[in-house]
């Protein structure tokens, strides 16, 4: 495991500002660590020249007494579905290979405005479709804890990068668990904030009504710092809502007296007993610290996954329409007419999982099937939201495992898409409800990390982070 440990993000920025270290030193360190850990394959592209140039700019700004941001000189890694200058944005797909973004995502702009520096683009399942990075059109990332296992996904490269300490934090996107599940598999902190507090502009869309951008970090405090920087309305994303007026770094760590619902359906026989054991131990710790824990049944949560696998592919099939080989990205050269150009560009450019989701999505939106699938799934989504609201009228937080198992073996599930989809079983509900949810390292099972998932009511991100911080300190 990592030989190098980064200080907290705010300490790093303070050191840069006070001259204890420089942005250039931090970026060079990060670039060096990326190179040293190439065998784990977490990175698609390194932004070497660009990041060093920015580091020099920040260093000279500090020297000349100019104001620099609160993340001055702090390196980070972005999942390769974020549009970033200085390297191609591929979403780990062949169809976007060579795409040099002419604009940047909101989250990247906000981080850069505070002096943070993007040093690399992390691997993912192509277009964020998957739970292992095995659907990357380029290569599979290895789990830092066991190279024969997957790092989780789709933000597997981002989670592995933080577990390997390549940078102090990384950015991921979470449509059905894509931040939390790999965070759990890699033993790091992953936060999916409330839907709408972080702008989606400039992030390759997967399921627009489900996509949430968030940080992966080594601890809760760093995740909170990043959220505080990347959240807030930007005028480019109409689905945004107001963020908390208070800083997300202003955390209340109180555990005593908090009402916790332990989700019954996530603790049943479908879950690895070793995982359940770790979660139960965590719950015991919470109880010992004064939390009031009760079991809560969310019977509809079992319908979350099937509803998700209708709604998400529906949006995917629509969002992937723009990759048609006509304006940018891969285009089949020898097509004899327009229709063939569309078909062959998409046939060659998209991987199997993207095609699978396009087909499912196209089917459920087709006339004659819309009511039976898409519309029904929307009804289920509404019911799940109601069930969640009801639970939060009684509890401050809901807890359970992040995933049913620890990191699985590379190749174990690639032949069976359904079993792959099942690794999102416990995470999709928070995407359907829009609630903030985190995965925090809770312990180990047979040497592999186990994450506990903590879910809060919508817009209770600050409360969630505070409680998570309190929990983190118990370990």
């Amino acid at each position: 495991m990592p030989k190098y440990i980064w200080k907290s993000i705010s300490d790093l920025a303070d050191d840069v500002k006070s001259g204890k270290t420089t942005a250039t030193e931090l970026v060079e360190k990060s670039l060096e660590l990326i190179e040293e850990n190439e065998e784990f394959k977490p990175i698609i592209a390194v932004i070497k020249d660009g990041s060093l140039k920015r580091a020099k700019e920040i260093d000279s700004a500090i020297k000349s007494g100019k104001k620099v941001g609160r993340l001055a000189g702090v390196p980070f890694i972005a999942k390769d579905n974020f549009l970033v200058y200085g390297a191609d944005t591929t979403a780990a797909s062949n169809i976007l290979k060579g795409f040099d973004a002419p604009y940047q995502s909101t989250a990247i702009n906000k981080l850069e405005a505070e002096g943070a520096i993007c040093v690399a683009k992390a691997n993912l399942d192509a277009f964020a479709h998957g739970s292992s990075t095995e659907n990357s059109d380029f290569f599979t990332t290895l789990n830092p804890h066991d190279k024969t296992r997957v790092p989780g996904g789709s933000s597997g490269g981002s989670a592995a990068s933080v577990a390997l300490s390549l940078a102090p934090f990384s950015l991921g996107s979470d449509t059905g668990g894509s931040i939390r599940q790999p965070a759990s598999f890699c033993g790091v902190v992953g936060l999916k904030p409330t839907y709408g507090i972080v702008g989606r502009s400039g992030v390759v869309a997967m399921g627009s009504s489900l996509d949430v951008i968030g940080p992966i970090a080594k601890n809760v405090e760093d995740a909170a710092t990043v959220l505080d920087v990347i959240s807030g309305k930007d005028g480019l994303d109409m689905t945004m809502i107001d963020r908390d007026k208070e800083s997300y770094s202003k955390l209340d760590k109180t555990i005593k007296g908090k009402k916790i619902g332990l989700i019954k359906e996530y603790m049943d026989e479908s879950v690895d007993p070793e995982v359940i054991k770790v979660i139960k131990e965590s719950v015991d710790k919470l109880v010992a610290s004064g939390a009031i824990v009760e079991e809560v049944s969310l019977p509809l949560s079992k319908l979350g996954l099937p509803a998700y696998y209708i709604l998400c592919p529906a949006e995917v099939s629509s969002n992937l329409s723009r990759y048609d080989g006509q304006r940018y990205g891969y285009s089949y050269k020898d097509a004899k007419d327009l229709s063939e150009s569309y078909m062959l560009s998409r046939d060659v450019g998209f991987g199997d999982e993207a095609k699978r989701r396009i087909m499912i999505g196209t089917y459920v939106l087709s006339s004659g099937y819309y009511d039976a699938y898409y519309k029904k799934a929307q009804v289920v989504r509404t019911k799940i939201i109601e069930e969640s609201d009801k639970a939060f009228s009684k509890f401050d937080f809901l807890v359970g495992p992040t995933t049913p198992t620890t990191a699985f073996k590379i190749g174990d599930k690639t032949g069976d898409p359904i079993s792959m989809y099942l690794s999102d079983l416990m995470t999709v509900t928070a995407n359907l409800t829009g609630c903030p949810s985190m995965s925090i390292p809770a312990g180990e099972a047979q040497g592999l990390p186990v994450g506990i998932q903590i879910i809060a009511a919508q817009r209770k991100d600050r409360e969630l982070l505070g409680f998570a911080k309190g929990f983190e300190e118990l370990n």
């Binding site: 549009l83 973004a101 502009s201 480019l236 629509s318 723009r322 569309y342 819309y370």
Partner: protein
């Protein structure tokens, strides 16, 4: 003849380009008229990865005004859907439109054909984005796409199938044009495709059982609407008479050949897979938002203002139609009517406004309020025979062309000479200089009198009172 028993039924869909500065979902200029191809595009218009729509509120405001112009209040709740199909000028692979919940439901357009008034119902009107423009250069193995127009805001207005003749179709199109223009919803520049009509035509002998319809798309003039409907009615009746079936299809209008042609073969059976656009929250318009659109509309309420002008009684229906083509001229006409001058004076000024002034101004913004009083003075001078018609028109022209123009000075300088003794001297002089013509008149050849009057007008630089001149000539020559 059997043919006369056929009843044509026509429904019209009209795309109106909303008069916004920027596109429907992107902060990019909307005015593609003289821009180089693909210069008015952003990452949103280009459909880049990660690009999200940001709705232009002005387009919603204008759509609300359009609703009021169609005689209904806009829907408080409406939403945007994605309509999927692949085409090179559709960058996202879907068009953002309103499918299940449009912003306008119901309404009507009042038309008049051959003195008969009729209400044409409106089914709905919805906001949508325009596609780009694809051109296929002749003899080349490629096509060109210009995305300047992609994302331009449109309001698609769908009529009930309550139109029953080509004339009615034309009247409907013209009225819609005036309504949208006057409410300032659109520039309605037909030449640049600001308004495009699709006509759905069917014929049947049984009014309760409509025939199979065809849709002729992309008509961009009133004449084309009329001709295309006329042609389709005739063609369909002929087909049926020959025992053939009408095929439900999309047709195009060939303006050179003045006929519709089948576009089938290019069309495929489409399943657009509409679903609510997850990037755009539904519109929930506040009462205040709707109210302010209504107030803005009431200032430009076509029907109310037309009625006011009709009541003033100075203008024919044709004059009114001409007037409403230019909202600035309408405002100007209202200012004149509000002055409550003598009927004959008001009529003269309005005649100048409609028929004279437009020939020498560059654009209608020239109709400024400070022109009202001088125009009335000129018209009064004419009415009181202080100015002859041509001199008065000269004054009108100077008023619009010369910033230094002084109306009272002009009238003084050009005042008609009506002093009989003064005119007699001039008449005698002209008669002596034109003996031949004078003799002709004296001998009863009255044609020559016009020549003599002309000579006198010339001698007086147009200031002589022509009626009086004629009277004096007749007296002198004793005819």
């Amino acid at each position: 003849m059997a043919k006369s028993e056929y009843i044509p039924t026509i429904g019209i869909e009209c795309h109106v380009q909303l008069k916004t500065d920027t596109k429907l979902f992107a902060a990019v200029s909307n005015d593609a008229r003289s821009a180089e191809p693909n210069t008015l595009v952003s990452h949103i218009c280009f459909g880049l990865p990660g690009a999200l729509p940001a709705l232009n509120e002005r387009a919603v405001e204008l759509s609300c005004k359009a609703a009021f112009a169609l005689g209904v209040s806009p829907q408080k709740f409406s939403k945007f859907d994605r309509k999927h199909y692949f085409y090179p000028d559709l960058p996202k692979g879907y068009q953002i439109s309103q499918f299940s919940d449009p912003i306008v439901v119901g309404g009507h357009v009042d038309i008049e054909v051959d003195g008969e008034k009729k209400k044409i119902g409106i089914v709905r009107a919805h906001i949508e984005e325009d596609a780009g423009k694809t051109t296929h250069p002749a003899g080349k193995d490629y096509s060109l796409v210009d995305l300047n127009r992609a994302g331009t805001p449109l309001l698609e207005i769908v009529s009930e199938p309550e139109i029953h003749s080509a004339k009615e179709a034309k009247a409907y199109a013209q009225k819609l044009y005036l309504l949208m223009k006057y409410a300032d919803v659109s520039d309605v520049d037909l030449y640049h495709g600001n308004m495009r009509f699709d006509v759905n035509v069917s014929v049947s002998k049984d009014p309760k059982n409509l025939g199979t319809r065809t849709e002729t798309k992309n008509l961009n003039s009133f004449k084309a609407v009329e001709r295309a409907v006329e042609y389709e009615i005739k063609r369909q009746i002929e087909e049926i008479e020959k025992g053939r079936e009408i095929i439900q299809e999309t047709r195009g209008w060939d303006d050179a050949k003045q006929k519709t042609t089948s576009q089938r073969g290019k069309e495929e059976a489409h399943d657009y897979r509409y679903f609510p656009d997850p990037d755009i929250p539904p519109l929930n318009l506040s009462d205040q938002f709707i109210k302010s659109a209504q107030l803005a509309f009431e200032k430009k309420n076509f029907y109310v203002i037309r009625e006011k002008l009709v009541k003033a009684g100075h203008l024919s229906n044709q004059d009114l139609d001409t007037l409403f083509n230019n909202p600035e001229a309408v405002d100007f006409a209202l200012m004149i009517i509000d002055k409550k001058v003598k009927t004959s004076v008001a009529e003269k000024v309005l005649d100048w406004v409609i028929n004279v002034i437009p020939s020498f101004i560059d654009d209608y913004s020239a109709f400024e309020s400070d022109k009202v009083d001088p125009l009335i003075l000129l018209a009064e001078a004419y009415d009181e025979e202080k100015l002859i018609s041509s001199r008065a028109k000269e004054g009108v022209k100077n008023l619009f062309k010369d910033e230094e123009f002084n109306v009272s000075e002009f009238i003084k300088q050009n005042e008609t000479v009506s002093d009989e003794s003064e005119l007699e001297i001039i008449v005698e002089k002209v008669l002596s200089e034109n003996e031949q013509a004078a003799n002709d008149v004296a001998n009863g050849e009255m044609k020559a009198i016009g020549f003599l009057v002309g000579q006198i007008m010339k001698a007086t630089k147009g200031k002589a009172n022509p009626g009086m001149v004629q009277k004096i000539i007749k007296q002198k020559l004793k005819v």
